[in-house]
């Protein structure tokens, strides 16, 4: 698959500002951090969740636990996504029962990843609530899934792809809009 870069959507500074703002929003709309826990969806949701937790330390001074979730086993499209998908481990060191979970991912698109993530979470226990936080919402939902906390809404077409590049994974920091060309 070949892609052509069309436009930079967010710079490193803008990503950081957005993460800070999202952290504030989550704290504000949760009445504090007492029962909160963040779950980063592999791969790029994980560094984002860690950054949000770090920002929350600054706001409330409290440690919000961060877990990581690999959704490969819960996907509905395994046979089409890769010749042989590679599993990573999930790591949620705290009980999810009665927690207010914030699922964190980089891009919200069809909603299937989030559906899979919820299946994974509910195998672990019964959270009190689950809300979704994403850096980019690009529309085109195929399932009834919504994000309460959104960095940016971006209109996209089917041939376009949003690439979120984060230092921890990609060794660069920006959000790009790219287009698939055949």
């Amino acid at each position: 698959m070949r892609v052509v870069e069309k436009q930079q959507l967010m710079s490193a500074t803008e990503i950081d500002r957005t993460v800070q703002r999202l952290a504030h929003e989550i704290v504000e709309k949760s009445g504090g951090t007492a029962n909160l826990a963040l779950i980063g969806i592999r791969r790029r949701g994980v560094p984002l969740a860690r950054r949000v937790a770090q920002a929350m330390r600054g706001i409330d001074g409290v440690e919000v636990p961060v877990g990581t979730l690999d959704i490969t086993l819960y996907r509905d499209d395994l046979s089409t996504v890769a010749p042989q998908p590679v599993l990573q481990s999930s790591d949620i060191a705290f009980p999810v029962d009665d927690k207010d979970l914030i699922l964190i991912d980089d891009v919200l698109y069809t909603g299937r990843t989030i559906r899979a993530a919820m299946n994974g979470l509910f195998d672990l226990g019964r959270p009190r609530s689950v809300r979704l936080c994403v850096l980019i919402d690009r529309g085109h939902r195929e399932l009834p899934i919504e994000a309460v906390f959104v960095g940016r809404h971006v209109q996209t077409s089917d041939t376009e792809i949003i690439e979120v590049r984060l230092n921890e994974v990609d060794h660069e920091e920006r959000v790009m809009l790219v287009e698939r060309v055949s």
């Binding site: 086993l73 089409t80 010749p83 599993l87 195998d123």
Partner: protein
Amino acid sequence: MPQRFRHMLGIEPLSAEQIVFLLDQSKPFQEIQRHPLKKLATLRGKTVGLAFFEPSTRTRISFSTAAARLGADTMNLQAEASSLRKGESLLDTLRTLDAMKPDCIVMRHSAAGAPEFIAGRLNIPVINAGDGAHEHPTQALLDALTIRDRKGDLAGLNVAILGDILHSRVARSNIHLFGKFGCRFALCGPAMWLPREFECLGYPLRRVARVEEALEGADVVIVLRVQQERLHEPALPLEEYILLYQLTPERLARARPDALVLHPGPMNRGVEIDPAVADGPQSCVLEQVTNGLAVRMALLFLLVGSTPADAKDAADAAH
């Protein structure tokens, strides 16, 4: 780096890199065993055909549970009750099973090469659950996972294997696996059960007559089950086997203090292994069983969870 597997017929053709990949892919499945809800829907709608032509309880239950926990269904062929007794050929039996459209076959047979024979004739993945004295790849993988978890690394270990090596597919698969990581082997048992041909495998191994000597400096001790039916072959009375070869605490003390004791099971307590060792802190037998489930889930996931056939187009179409 992701690796692709079509079948799992043996350890011998695998590279060290592929083995490391398989062990890494088993880790998430180790975690799942600790969840309150252990059932996934990953292989929902898929069917795993279990074709066991040799008696097996543990391996069959392990594969069956692995399939179930991935959400798959199973077809269960058991030799005693099967049409083989009515004279049907192996190929016909498997073709009959295949006509019911399983998504893979897990096969155990007394003839070496039987799974490979079938793999060449059906169009679905085949997993070898033990073929004669040839290979038992999932056993070696679960042994490796157990050792890697406890020791951190597989490279350069001293491995002692005790017992009926001649008839042991577990020994062969383990020698292939650990051999690829530069391990050294001491094989010990009654002379009739220590084949010289193993030296042709090309790994640093030595056949040792006395068990004390074999255990000297060992990091890993693999104890094989004595099949009492076979004791008449070297004409060795049971009491003599116990006297000469049983793994006792005193003998185990000759190995490294942090040496691990593995046994593929089922154990004959008081025969090849002293109960104190079987239940002692160095024994990994129960971990082996739990890890066996994880390894088999990982294999089923890798072989059945995606379709290599349309892989290239699928990779291009990825979201």
